[in-house]
């Protein structure tokens, strides 16, 4: 059986903290624990932060949409903004090992691609970017994939 949860958070600065009860609700439903729970939470947080601050530019009139879908095999998280970003603005090929430890920014996307099994970025009809993160609940061998779709 497939479960779905959808949320919208306005990009007003004082609304940012609404992310955390959402994450808490989902990780409880998914029964994630320990490092697995932390990795999932970090990925959602990174994508949400990018959508909130970079995509929507903290515009209170815009919302970040979060959609969580899961079944026994797969967890899918989609996070979408209403900004003007383009697919090429996000480099999914950046490896964490290529980022100097001295850097104070620029790790968010690389952390997502390190922790999620598959990551896609798409441009939405009407504007905005949607980041899709996928985890396979039963470990399967094979390379990770990152896909950019216009």
């Amino acid at each position: 059986m497939t479960e779905k949860r959808r949320f919208q958070v306005p990009s007003a600065t004082n609304q940012f903290v609404k992310l955390y009860p959402i994450i808490a609700e989902i990780v409880e439903e998914l029964e994630l624990e320990g490092n697995e729970k932390f990795r999932f939470a970090v990925c959602v947080s990174e994508a949400f932060t990018n959508a909130f601050y970079h995509g929507n530019q903290s515009d209170p009139a815009k919302v970040v949409e979060l959609a969580f879908t899961w079944d026994q095999e797969t967890i899918t998280v989609e996070i979408a903004d209403q900004g003007r970003g383009k697919v090429n603005d996000i480099n999914l090929d950046t490896d964490l090992s290529s980022i100097s430890p001295q850097e104070t920014s620029g790790r968010g996307v690389a952390i997502i691609t390190s922790f999620a099994d598959k990551v896609e970025v798409n441009e939405k009809d009407g504007g905005g970017l949607k980041v899709t993160m996928i985890w396979h609940r039963q470990a399967k061998p094979g390379p990770k994939t990152s896909v950019l779709t216009r």
């Binding site: 940012f16 903290v17 955390y20 320990g34 490092n35 729970k37 932390f38 990795r39 939470a41 970090v42 947080s45 990174e46 932060t49 601050y53 964490l96 090992s97 980022i99 430890p101 001295q102 850097e103 104070t104 920014s105 620029g106 790790r107 968010g108 952390i111 390190s114």
Partner: protein
């Protein structure tokens, strides 16, 4: 984020509790830099009760580390939960931070005679 400060003769310990993200990073940096400006630049950050950290929090810690070193100080970390330790390792930040398993181990760094400023 809650910050509890313990002042010792040779150093200070800041025990952090809560989330270290974009919302809490600025206040943490301001707080630490106020101590540095007062000459308290030997600092232990006890992360035992940090239950969440992301790239914003990591970037802020790097920025704080640079400021402390610029002030000829020393910043060390202690008591990282396993998930926090993991993100320090995959981001290679474990290469630039001094990380100790316990606060007692971190204190030894500042209590050694060679660490004292004469």
């Amino acid at each position: 984020m809650e910050i509890r400060v313990t002042e010792h003769v040779d150093f200070i310990t800041l025990s952090l509790k809560g989330r270290l993200d974009i919302a809490s990073s600025a206040s943490l940096k301001d707080d630490i830099l106020r101590h540095v400006a007062r000459g308290q630049s030997k600092i232990i950050l006890n992360l035992a009760q940090v239950d969440f950290i992301n790239s914003s929090g990591l970037g802020t810690l790097v920025s704080i580390l640079k400021e402390v070193r610029l002030a000829k100080g020393r910043l060390v970390l202690s008591n990282l939960a396993s998930y926090v330790q993991e993100i320090f390792e995959i981001t290679q930040l474990s290469n630039i931070f001094e990380i100790f398993a316990s606060e007692a181990d971190a204190q030894d760094v500042f209590l050694q005679p060679s660490a004292r400023v004469v």
